[in-house]
Amino acid sequence: MSLLNVEHVSHRYQTARDDRPVLQDVSVDIEAGQTLAVVGESGCGKTTLGRAIVGLMQPSAGTVNFEGADIWKLRGSQYREYRQSVQLVHQDPYGALNPGITVDETLAGGLRYHRIVPRRETHDEVRRLLGLAGLDTSQAFLERYPHQLSGGQRQRLVIARAMALRPSLLVADEPVSMLDVSMRISILDLLKSLGQSHGLAYLFISHDFGVVRYFAAGGRIIVMFFGVVVESGPVEEVIARPQHPYTYLLLDAIPEPDPRRARRRRSEATRIAAERVEAYPADTGCVFANRCPFVRDRCRTDRPPSLTGDAADGHWSACWYPEEIPAAAVRAVDEEVV
């Protein structure tokens, strides 16, 4: 039984202008200690999926199950266990912390309510959490307010808070995208080491394949497009040999941090796709049909099946003609950039 799984979840925003479902029949499994990365562009539903898993949003269809039980049906101690086990790391270190409360209170609030440690040990536990996240444990630091911390410190505090309730699954929604580049690796390293030392599972949401490759090495990845899971598989495998046109195009379009190779001609397919970048997702047939450079007749009429739990282990894609995708989307990964 997986730690957390999502079954046939769909969701529609009631006030959406075009009434498009933000999630369409999404099913994923997260095993204990495993990392699952979710990649896609804005509007693809990855954040909504994260919110559904963390219990902030109840999907209009389908279930989110923690250790086999529907989280919206849990009561009492079972609910408490779920609540403590699944925590969230936000992307915006400036909005994720309450500007009106101190560092101490930020961490102590949850500790006290859930009685994670006896009341008199709260102070020590707060300092332990700060240390875990690589932050100053002095009294002066405890009395600081978020606006007195740097971006990196704030993100570390957000991570410390997420660890306070001793979770087994962390949903990290773009945890480094709002940080300066020079700090990203250290935050990712912190998350990785916490994951290893505490046996954490991760749902790692990002739009950046480079970050995903660094963090989720050895884990799995799903690629989403307008609420639909279009590809799923091991991280390195999907990046090296994408089986869905959308994944291929995303990888091909990434700017290359190497001036000698950056000027190469991009594939015709990418050029076509970039120009169709405003085309609406299709309502019939494959959702990607209006933008796909390899589209054929069948794609417009038959919708490829959704990913279900059965395909969980292998490399799967929602495409009728994956053989159309050019090989070697990404340049050989063993050439160093310096």
Binding site: G55, V86, L88, A96, L97, P99, G100, G109, H114, V158
Partner: protein
Amino acid sequence: MKFFRDLWRICRGDKPALIGAIVILIYIVVAIAGPFATHVGYVKNPALAYLPPSAKYPLGTDFLGNSVLSELIIGTRPIMEVGIAAAVMVVTVGVIVGLVAGYLGGAVDQVVMRITDVFLTIPGLPLVIVIAAIVRTTNPFVLAAILSVTGWAGLARAVRSQALSLRTSDFIDAAKVQGLPLRNIVGRQLLPNIGPYVAIHFLLAVTDAIYAEVGLYLLGVAPITGTNWGIMINLAISQGALYTSQSALYLFSPMLAIVFLQVALVYFSRAMDRLFNPRLRVQ
């Protein structure tokens, strides 16, 4: 203690706030210690009526021969008691209603806001006058409650809109994900963020309550027992102070006492934003 240190530091940098703070402090000391320092009699002594200011009677005397200054001093406590009590009630009710309605939204918000709207549209002062006239109480807390009957509605509405905008913040999501209960979210997450707003409103609510209270006494709607500024004005007018210049001090002293306090409260409220907003308070 840190709070008072910060307060001192802020006031030092803002002269009007400092003046306001000192004046308010004086009034509070007078309110507490006044009745022990002096007293007022109720026997008419025509020989001492309307005396001009002198060493013994710095502000002269009233129509009964009592020292106006003594009356002012003794009259401070009832006024401030009621004023502060009313402000506390207004702010407590307004904040709780506003935060809960704004945070929970949905049906709760709709129902609560409709009720609030009713209270907002009822003309405040006339209603207070009518109720006071009917109830005729001398109990300061009952009087304070009467004065608060509509005052909370405006604050509730404003606090609600703040809560509405705060409710979608990431840090509120974080509190929910930690499973924190409503009382924690309202009390420890939302409240600190509206701190300055509430503090300023509190001070202004005191000024409103004092005006309304004095108004009640002036109109004779509240019972004329004991001594306070409102009663002083009432008696001064009914004893003909508007027509003779001898009793000018008797009429104007309580008015000035009120005005100075109100201005001090307003000046002091300037420090509230800095005091309650962590971004401004901390160095």
